[in-house]
């Protein structure tokens, strides 16, 4: 956005509570890799020029990449400046920070959707003998006591963390709710390549049937695996991870209860994956890729044992740690504007917030399916900076 505002000669500052790429520096686990391939991290004016276009950036590489971009575009970043409030003022907005106040006519909210780790209510009943971490607190298996680990949540974060913890010698039980399975490679190409080429990632918020639902769909269960292997539930059960249903409750006597819906959770996920692969196959056929790439194929269905356990006793010491991989929510505690829906999310139309001159970026399906990807920032920033520039012109008389 800063780059697009510069191109339009719009004076601005970028307020950053820490250093550039703060979340990546301080709130993610050590082994995390970007789940999109290197070639796909395109930002306005910058494409990938390295020797490993199909690789996935490590955490330090992501930090370097974003920091270098901020330098390359000379973004006017004010680091170590925490916004404490944004409220309406006579000529626009008053932005208070711990480094002084700013008056501005427009505000772009680019603080992301993944600020606060969600923890389910049942967490209150976890016995004290069990250590808990959110995905935001977890760094590596060495933090954990020896013994079994319950990982709650089987999307991208949960599956990656379950994998490395189980391989560290701590047997993992993975509690599986809604998730969307996806193969890393399909017909010889990265799934992201297909989704990019077929225009799936470019699909706009005003083209989908029900944008409210589209914005709530969990992100794909993808991992940036160095060997480009698929890290799905079958891969995890293959190394000995045990699957259980969604964590439904913890009893007063310290027993975790799991829903009996594991089979359907997996069936829904397999069906959704196959719908995506059908879409890709149709696109490949229409666009003459058949014969040029590997033939169409389907992954074996997710294997679920005959009678998955419905309960787990914390008292017997089998489980020493719980990892909450149950998603994130945005932190808007500083945003003092009447722009929230009943669930506390910012109301917006493709990133144009209902309060004039306020814009929102980097939340699920803000303007496009790729809005939360690094690769999605450019197109959204171009659109929203156009809107912002027009707003300033119309209101400068």
């Amino acid at each position: 956005m800063s780059r697009c505002l510069c191109e339009r000669s719009i004076d601005h500052v970028v307020l950053e509570r820490g250093e550039v790429a703060h979340t990546w520096r301080t709130e993610r686990w050590d082994s995390l890799r970007l789940l999109t391939p290197n070639w796909q991290s395109r930002l306005p004016g910058v494409g990938y020029r390295g020797h490993d276009p199909d690789g996935y950036r490590t955490l330090p590489e992501v930090i370097d990449f974003i920091t270098a971009y901020a330098q390359a575009i000379s973004a006017p970043v004010r680091p170590h400046t925490r916004v404490t409030s944004v409220r309406r003022a006579e000529a626009g907005y008053l932005v208070r920070t711990d480094q002084g106040d700013w008056s501005c006519r427009t505000v772009v909210i680019a603080s992301g959707a993944f600020n606060i780790a969600c923890v389910p209510g049942v967490a209150d009943h976890v016995p004290r003998s069990v250590t808990t971490f959110t995905t935001q607190q977890y760094r590596n298996p060495d933090q954990l006591p020896a013994g079994g680990v319950l990982v709650v949540g089987a999307s991208s974060s949960g599956t990656q963390i379950a994998n490395e913890i189980h391989r560290s010698g701590r047997p993992v039980t993975l509690s599986v709710g809604e998730h969307i399975r996806a193969p890393r490679m399909y017909r010889g190409k990265d799934l992201e390549w297909w989704m990019d080429a077929a225009g799936i990632l470019d699909e706009r918020y005003d083209q989908v049937d029900d944008i409210g639902r589209a914005r709530q769909v969990p992100s794909l269960q993808l991992a940036g695996t160095p060997d480009r292997s698929t890290l799905d539930l079958n891969a995890l059960t293959g190394i000995g991870v045990r699957l259980v249903g969604r964590l439904a409750g913890i009893t007063g006597s310290g027993k975790a209860q799991f829903a009996g819906s594991l089979r359907n959770m997996c069936a829904l996920s397999d069906l959704k994956m196959n719908r995506l692969l059908n879409l890709i196959d149709e696109w490949a056929q229409t666009n003459g890729f058949d014969g040029m790439v590997e033939p169409s194929h389907r992954l074996p269905p997710t294997a679920v044992e005959e009678a998955p356990p419905l309960a787990l006793d914390f008292d017997n010491g089998e489980i020493r740690t719980i990892i909450w991989a149950t998603g994130y929510r945005p932190d808007y505690s500083w945003l003092e504007l009447p722009v929230f829906d009943r669930k506390g999310m910012v109301r917006h139309d493709g990133g144009v917030v209902s309060s004039q001159g306020v814009y929102l970026m980097g939340v699920p399906f803000a303007r496009r399916r790729k809005s939360t990807l690094i690769d999605g920032a450019g197109d959204d920033a171009r659109d929203l900076s156009d809107h912002l520039a027009l707003y300033l012109r119309r209101n400068s008389a």
């Binding site: 969604r246 409750g249 209860q257 829903a259 009996g260 819906s261 359907n264 069936a267 069906l271 719908r275």
Partner: protein, 186 residues
């Protein structure tokens, strides 16, 4: 799936359901319902239950008539078999909830159903309820639901109907998740 020109008719008023969804999104208080049943002991293991009123959309509501249900145990338990067993009513509830969901989802997805039949089987080890073995639970060890569906749709679209119906089913949720139950004596 039916071609775009034909409109499926499964007898489900989807327009009304979609409108209700929109209305209740705007007015969450109206979405608060209370479902009720009353039960009277007759003799032995035989009881007679009725369902008539419920609460929803901010006020008391009534079925068009009072529905009645006799429950009992079969003769091999030395009972008189004057009705289905309570656990069979659970299977009936699950089957009818999932089946209604299949019809509604099919209508929404414009899939014409020709026939939908389900058979259900719940495994139970009576050592639980008879107190022979405390390690055996009272309830079902597992429930198997088998659908046969004839519809204008591919197999994977039919499987998706059945999966979505489970995802949105109240009874499926009640059966697969714990629920706090409070029983008091007035």
């Amino acid at each position: 799936m039916a071609d775009a020109s034909s409109i499926a008719n499964n007898g489900v008023n989807v327009a009304a359901l979609v409108a209700a969804r929109e209305e209740l999104t705007k007015a969450p208080a109206a979405a608060q319902f209370k479902w009720r049943a009353a039960c009277e002991w007759k003799d032995g293991t035989h009881s007679h239950s009725t369902v008539e009123g419920f609460y929803g959309l901010g006020q008391e509501q009534h079925h068009k008539k009072t529905f009645t249900f006799d429950a009992d145990h079969p003769e091999l338990f030395a009972s008189e078999d004057k009705g289905a067993t309570p656990v069979e009513y659970v299977l009936v509830g699950l089957a009818s909830c999932l089946t209604a969901g299949i019809a509604a989802v099919a209508q929404y997805r414009n899939i014409q159903l020709r026939s939908v039949t389900a058979t259900l089987e719940g495994d139970m080890d009576l050592q639980g309820i008879l107190g022979i073995d405390d390690d055996v639970r009272n309830g079902f060890g597992g429930i198997k639901v088998t659908y046969k569906i004839d519809a204008d749709a591919k197999r994977e679209d039919i499987e998706a109907l059945v999966a979505q119906s489970q995802k949105r089913s109240a009874v499926y949720d009640i059966v697969t998740n714990p629920t706090n139950v409070t029983v008091v004596v007035d």
